[in-house]
Symmetry: C2
Subunit: 439 residues, 2 copies
C-alpha cells in the first residue's frame, strides 16, 4: 500500500463527513507518529472525527494504523492461548489483580499491559505498587519471560507500543475530544492488540461512577470495539457492567490489593467475585480454552476456591520484585495509614444508593488518586465501605472507614457523608452487575 | 463585562452545538489575541465552529471581539460620512481602483484598507503597486490625513488592526476551516469595522470564478455580514454579483490599472462601469449622502463622465508617492511585458462562456498572482480579453492577448485555450452583473 502524504484534502474530506480511504487514514496516523503533522492539524482532525465519526471500515483501518505505529509484541514462543481483559475504568475496580492470576491458573497466558489512574478511577499499576518492591516497568523481554513461565505479567505502557495513541490522547485531553466512541475504541484496541494477544474481553462500565453514563453509549462503544476486533481477526467479547455503586468494599490502593487477595482465597465481596468469575470465564471462552461459558466460569471458580490462582499471584509478585509475603500477611506487609476517620449514619433506614463517583473523588482527595499525571499516589489511604446497597442501618452505625494522613480529609469526609442515600423503605440488594454480554 | 479565562468547557460547549455567551466568546478571542490559548486549542475551536456554526447572537459578539482585539481607527476629525466597499474577490476585479476615487469625488470619505491577492484572485494593493512609486504602507496618521484632504486613501492591513483575525486566518488556512460563513463574515467585518467607518457595501461575488460557487452560500454570507453590521450599529448593504466570466477585459495588474483609468475617463467595459456605478451609488446611499439609490447612481455616473473622479485619483496617486503622470499616459508609465502571446479561435461560432477561474489561474501562472504569500508579483504580465460572452468569432480571430515574460506561458496558454466555450448557436450577451441587493 503506497502511503500518500497527509494533506488538507484529507482533513477537508472528514470535515465534510466523507469516507476516508485506507491510504488517507494511514497517511494521517503516520504523520501523527513521526510528528510531521503539526498539533493544530491533528487537533482539527480530532474535532472533525469527534463530530463526524468514523464508519466501521474507517474504524478498523484507523485502529490498525495506530496499532502498527509502534512495536507489536511477538508472543509466538508462548504456546498457550494469549488473552487479556480491559476495563473502561471504575471505582474500586481491582478485578485485574485477582482475575489475571486466576485465569492464568486455568492454563491461558495473560500478557496484561495496564494503565495508571487519573481523576476518580484508580489504575491497576498504582494498586500493584502498593506491594513493597513491586515493579511495573519490566522491559519487554522480561515481560514475555514472565508471561511464558508464570502465565501472567502486569506492566505499564512502554514508549514503543502504539506511540500514535500517546500523541493523540495527549491532544484529545486538551481539545475536548476525549468523549468520542471511535477515538476511545481505537485508543483501547491499538494498545491491547499491540500486546500480541489472540482474544480480548472488554469490561465496559456504565453508570454514575463510570466514564459512560448511559447504556446506549456503552453499547456503541462495545460495537466499535467489536468492529475493530473483527477487522483485526481477533475474538473480542464485551461485558457491559453496572458501575453505579463502588465495586466491592475497598476503594484505594493497598486496601484494594487486600480485597483482591481475599477473592483469590475464595472469599471477598460477592460482586468482586462475580466480576472475576464472569470476566474470567469469558476470557477462557474467547481464548478457546473451554467450549462453553459455563465451563469457563466453573474453571475460574475452582482456581479461586482451590488457591491455584493465589499461588500464581504469589509467583507473579515475586517475579516482579514484590514482597511475596503479602499473600499470607497482607495487613502486615501493605502500607498502613496512621489515622482512620469513620462516616456514621445520622438516621435509621435502608441503604438505597452509594454514589461511586463521590466515593472515587473522596478517595482521590485523600491521596489515593491523582488529579494531574505527575501527582504522587499515597497507597495507604482510601475508603473502606462498611455497608452495601440494601443493608439496614441504625443511627450512629459506621457506613465507611477512611484510612488517611489528614490531607484532604475535610473534603473527602463531606463527599462521603453525601455519598450514601438512606431511605425509610426497604431496598432490594442489587443482583448481578452484568448487564449484558456482546460476543 | 468580567472576562472569564478560556477553558475546555467553552470548547466543549461549542463542540456540542451550544450557544456561547458573551463572556465565553470574549475569553476565547482574548486568548487568541494574547497567545495564551495554544494553536491546537484554537484550531479545535475553529473546526467546532466550522461544523456547528455561530448563531446571530454569537456572531455579533464574535466579530466585535475580533474588531476590538486591536486598534480601532478614530476618524472623528473627518466630517464627511465615512464609507467603504469590500469585495469577496473575483477575477479582473479592479473596481476599488475606479470606485473609491469616484465616490470620494461625490463628497464622502473612503478610508479603504485593502488586501493582497492569493490564488486566482488579484488584490487591490498589488494592482496599485503597478504604478511606479505607489506606496500602500502609509502609517495611520498619514492615512487619516490623506482621507481627510483628498477624501480617499488605499493602504494595506496594519499589524494593529484586528490582530485576532491574523492569527485565526493563518490557522484556518492550514486546518481546512476557511470556507465557513461565520468565520468569513467575522474576518471581513472585524477588519472593515476597525477602519472606523459609518457604513459599508459588500460586493459578494458568486460563480465559477468566485470563492462562493452557489447563490445560497452567497446569500448566507450576506446575511451573516448584515447580522454583524446590525450588532455594530452600522448600515451595511450587500450586492450579490455574478462572477462567472472575468470582470471587464483586463486580468492582471498594470492592465487592470489601465482599465480602471478608462472607467474614470467615462469609458471602459460596460460591466466594469456598471459595477462601479451601482456599488458607488449604494455607498452614497448607505452613507446617507443621497436619499435614493437612483440619485447615488447618477452622482457616480457624473463623477466618471465629468472627470471629477479621475482628478481625485490623480491626487491620490501623488499623495501615495506614485507617478501621477499615469493618469494621462498610462501606457507610457505602467510596466510593459517584453512579449505577447495571442490565443486565437480554432473555429467560427459564438462565445458562450469564458471561465473566470481558468483565466485567473492563467494570469497567476504568468506571474500576475501568487501561490504563496511570499511570492513576488510581476505587474506587467496578465491576460487581456479580446472578446466577450455573446460575441461572434471567426477562425483565427484573437480571443485574448497575454503579455508575458515566458515564465509559466505554456500552462497559462493551455488554460486560456480551454477557457473559451465557442458554440454554433447565437448566445445572448449577459445582462447586468447585479443579481440582488440586500439592505
Amino acid at each position: 500500500m503506497s502511503l500518500a502524504p497527509f494533506s488538507l484534502e484529507i482533513l477537508r474530506k472528514k470535515r465534510d463527513g466523507g469516507h476516508l480511504d485506507e491510504a488517507e487514514i494511514r497517511a494521517f496516523i503516520a504523520g501523527v507518529t513521526d510528528g510531521s503533522i503539526p498539533d493544530y492539524q491533528v487537533s482539527a482532525m480530532l474535532m472533525a472525527v469527534f463530530l463526524r465519526g468514523l464508519d466501521p471500515g474507517e474504524l478498523g483501518v484507523w485502529a490498525d494504523a495506530m496499532l502498527r505505529s509502534g512495536e507489536v509484541l511477538d508472543l509466538g514462543r508462548i504456546a498457550r492461548p494469549k488473552v487479556d481483559k480491559h476495563s473502561t475504568g471504575g471505582v474500586g475496580d481491582k478485578i485485574s489483580l485477582c482475575l489475571a492470576p486466576a485465569v492464568a491458573a486455568c492454563g491461558v497466558a495473560v500478557p496484561m499491559i495496564s494503565g495508571r489512574g487519573l481523576g476518580h478511577s484508580g489504575g491497576t499499576l498504582d494498586k500493584l505498587e502498593a506491594i513493597p518492591g513491586f515493579r511495573v516497568d519490566l522491559d519487554v523481554e522480561r515481560f514475555i519471560d514472565c508471561v511464558d513461565s508464570i502465565g501472567v505479567c502486569l506492566i505499564g505502557q512502554t514508549a514503543h507500543l502504539a506511540p500514535a495513541d500517546r500523541r493523540l490522547y495527549a491532544l484529545r485531553d486538551v481539545t475536548a475530544t476525549v468523549e468520542s466512541i471511535p477515538l476511545i475504541a481505537s485508543s483501547i484496541m491499538s494498545k491491547k492488540l499491540a500486546e500480541g494477544i489472540d482474544a480480548l474481553v472488554l469490561d465496559c462500565k456504565v453508570g454514575t461512577g463510570a466514564f459512560m453514563k448511559r447504556l446506549d453509549d456503552a453499547r456503541a462503544l462495545a460495537q466499535a470495539i467489536q468492529v475493530i476486533g473483527q477487522a483485526a481477526g481477533k475474538r473480542v467479547s464485551v461485558m457491559i457492567t453496572d458501575m453505579d455503586a463502588p465495586i466491592g468494599m475497598a476503594v484505594g490502593n493497598a486496601n484494594e490489593v487486600l480485597e483482591a487477595i481475599e477473592v483469590l482465597r475464595g472469599r471477598g465481596p460477592a460482586d468482586t467475585r462475580e466480576l472475576t468469575v464472569r470476566l474470567g470465564g469469558e476470557m477462557l471462552h474467547v481464548a478457546g480454552a473451554v467450549s462453553t461459558e459455563a465451563e469457563g466460569i466453573a474453571r475460574v471458580e475452582h482456581a479461586l476456591d482451590s488457591g491455584a490462582g493465589l499461588e500464581v499471584f504469589r509467583r507473579l509478585v515475586a517475579a516482579q520484585g514484590g514482597d511475596a509475603r503479602v499473600v499470607d500477611d497482607p495487613a502486615g506487609i501493605l502500607p498502613q495509614a496512621p489515622a482512620t476517620h469513620e462516616i456514621r449514619a445520622e438516621r435509621a433506614g435502608y441503604v438505597a444508593a452509594i454514589d461511586a463517583l463521590a466515593v472515587g473523588i473522596a478517595a482521590s482527595a485523600l491521596g489515593a488518586g491523582r488529579q494531574r499525571t505527575d501527582d504522587q499516589i499515597d497507597h495507604a489511604v482510601g475508603v473502606d465501605m462498611a455497608v452495601r446497597v440494601g443493608d439496614t442501618v441504625s443511627p450512629g452505625q459506621v457506613l465507611a472507614r477512611m484510612p488517611h494522613r489528614h490531607r484532604g480529609l475535610e473534603r473527602a469526609a463531606a463527599l462521603m457523608r453525601a455519598a450514601f442515600t438512606i431511605d425509610d423503605k426497604p431496598v432490594r440488594a442489587p443482583g448481578s452487575r452484568i448487564i449484558e454480554v456482546l460476543r
